[in-house]
């Protein structure tokens, strides 16, 4: 059952469950893994009442495969996992990108590599989300920083995944997933459903031309749909040896996401005129938010979406400040993307506050680093 509008005190992972149900999720396949398990547990309780199916599979490869299969049955489907499971899913993430299957994968990130720190937060899977499977492809990824955003951005994940027929990712972490806080459910939630082949539905969501994102042919409706992970033409004829077909297909898969970056990207800006700007996301941004709230010499660009990389807000910030501090809970991943855009836009000094081990950087750690940079 969908949650009624109102105010609730929930855990981050529970808010994600409610966001998925609000989006109309009808299929979930999962495999137990810390720190994401509450999402599977929540949906195992609630999907039955929402006319959906919950399935516990034999491994994460099977989970995402079943989720893709369910999507071709025409329903919104998702899975949730963490680092080791996410690594196993990479093969099928490439398949979802190539076959243009809308699915949502929640990754409640924990410390890696390998088994690492199952109960501690990290932001180590940021690049894997975009580059983990073989070949060129684009994805859409959001990074929540609160219980509220675990709900809001789960909804966005479904919306954009459906709209552009790409895998959508919610990159949470053990801190945000297990955090408890206030969740406000509004009366109206904007929900986008995929554009089905053979259905005429004028909707603002479908301002994307069909040549870029093709209407989705649901199985069992007589479309004689052929879906394959091999290089294929628009009519799904497999053409693995045809250079032109491959070029057109793979470029379109990228273009449909990159050209719509402005539609997809979301961010929060605090004190935009500051000479020193922190650029961060998720748990790593929490300490900086506290600093920027009290000190107008420091601003914050908090990225709510990570892929496609939000070039525009980073460029805008870089043009208007003297130095940038990037904060991440890894040894520097998105840092290099941010630095690239900053340098291109005239900001010469881009430093990194990196922290691994599970604890997000504290306000005092931010202040210490900002003092070193001469910002405060």
């Amino acid at each position: 059952m969908k949650i009624a509008p109102g105010e609730y005190f929930l855990q981050g992972n529970e808010a994600c469950v409610e966001g998925a149900l609000a989006s109309g999720v009808k299929f979930f396949a999962g495999y137990p893994i810390t720190p994401s398990t509450e999402i599977a547990e929540g949906l195992s309780r609630k999907l039955k009442g929402a006319d959906g199916v919950f399935l516990q599979m034999e491994d994460e490869i099977a989970c995402i495969s079943a989720v893709i299969g369910a999507s071709w049955g025409g329903v919104k489907s998702m899975t949730a996992t963490s680092g080791p499971g996410f690594s196993l899913m990479q093969e099928a993430i490439g398949y979802a990108a190539m076959s243009e299957t809308p699915i949502v994968v929640v990754n409640v990130m924990r410390g890696g590599p390998s088994t690492g720190q199952p109960t501690r937060a990290s932001q180590g899977d940021v690049m894997q989300t975009k580059y983990g499977s073989h070949g060129d492809y684009q994805v859409i990824a959001f990074a929540p920083a609160s219980v509220q955003e675990m709900f809001d951005l789960t909804v966005e994940c479904f919306n954009y995944s459906e709209k552009y027929r790409v895998p959508g990712f919610l990159l949470s972490d053990a801190e945000i997933g297990h955090m408890r806080g206030l969740l406000k459910i509004p009366d109206n939630i904007k929900i986008i459903d995929r554009k089905e082949k053979g259905m005429k539905r004028p909707d603002e969501a479908y301002d994307v031309p069909d040549e870029l994102v093709r209407p989705f042919p649901v199985f069992g409706k007589g479309h004689k749909t052929m879906i394959t992970g091999m290089t294929h033409t628009d009519t799904s004829k497999i053409e693995p040896e045809d250079v032109k077909v491959h070029q057109e297909l793979v470029k379109r898969l990228s273009e449909k996401v990159l050209r719509n970056r402005k539609d997809i990207n979301k961010w929060e800006l605090m004190c935009p005129g500051s000479k020193t700007m922190v650029v961060s996301y998720g748990s790593a941004s929490l300490g900086a938010k506290e600093v920027a709230a009290k000190d107008d010499r420091v601003g914050l660009l908090r990225l709510k979406s990570l892929w496609p990389f939000p070039e525009e807000p980073v460029a805008e910030v870089a043009r208007n400040c003297n130095q940038i501090l990037v904060s991440e809970m890894n040894l520097g991943m998105l840092y290099w993307e941010i630095k690239r855009v900053a340098l291109e836009n005239g900001c010469k000094k881009v430093e990194l506050l990196s922290k691994i081990g599970g604890d997000p950087p504290t306000p005092s750690e931010f202040r210490h680093k900002l003092r070193e940079m001469g910002a405060i």
Binding site: E58, W72, F219
Partner: protein, 244 residues
């Protein structure tokens, strides 16, 4: 494929309400050759994809085409758990005892001491018995035939298609190019002769499953219907399609 079409046509099943799912390999491409909804997936995962599709759209009939490498090696875990879960689908495994598409490497069903490009001194491993695995793991219907047994195979495919739950038909098939050629059976007819000589009717042979597995290990092919039972399928157990 011919036997399958015959079984499918004789049962008058609607193509529009059937989805074919395949993994990767020679046999797994069959869904692309049928003018119906087809999901050509990743290597070994066809049953997992099919499980999601079936539960999301229970009115579809699901047929999975797979091979020995796809099903028994890389997809072994999905195969065992598919049988156990008993979601309504028919899985047809075309077992040619070799990785044909990549040029003839040993597979999990290549008989002991046989030659392949990766077993130039003979295969030192022993083969899997896919049908016995399916029986032990809980499939509702299991049969194995060679491509010689055209009528029996067609009949078993019909039984499998009509039955609810996870049904499994293994078709021991010839790959003269990549298996036969390296094992003194370059002519397709020699392979059929080999099937004839090695085949043992399961219902006429010893009864304990362990004996059948032993026969498989010796390089014999036990053929026949292995099991025909009516365990409740997963959709019925969770009530999919009943509400809403």
């Amino acid at each position: 494929m011919n036997c399958f079409y015959r079984a499918f046509t004789e049962l008058e099943l609607p193509l529009d309400k059937t989805a074919f799912v395949g993994g990767i390999g020679c046999s797994s491409r069959i869904p692309l050759y049928i003018n119906s909804d087809a999901l050509h997936t990743t290597h070994g995962r066809a049953i997992a994809f099919a499980t999601g599709l079936k539960l999301a759209k229970p009115e579809l009939k699901i047929v999975v085409f797979t091979g020995d490498g796809d099903l028994g090696a890389i997809g072994g875990n999905h195969f065992i758990n598919g049988c156990r879960r008993n979601v309504d689908m028919t899985v047809i495994c075309i077992n040619n005892n070799i990785y044909g598409m990549t040029g003839g490497q040993a597979s999990i069903t290549t008989p002991h001491e046989y030659q392949s490009t990766t077993t130039p001194y003979g295969n030192k491993e022993y083969p899997f018995d896919l049908a016995e695995i399916a029986v032990a793991a809980g499939a509702n219907y299991v049969a194995r035939w060679t491509t010689r047994n055209v009528h029996e195979l067609t009949r078993s495919m019909k039984s499998a298609l009509q039955k609810k739950g996870f049904t499994f038909v293994e078709v021991v098939s010839q790959c003269p190019t990549n298996f036969g050629r390296r094992n003194k059976m370059g002519d397709p007819s020699q392979m059929l002769e080999w099937f004839k000589e090695s085949s043992v009717r399961r219902d006429k042979s010893r009864t304990a499953a362990v004996d059948h597995v032993d026969l498989n290990l010796e390089g014999k092919i036990t053929i026949g219907e292995f099991v025909d039972r009516n365990r409740e399928c997963y959709e019925e157990l969770i009530g999919v399609g009943k509400h809403g």
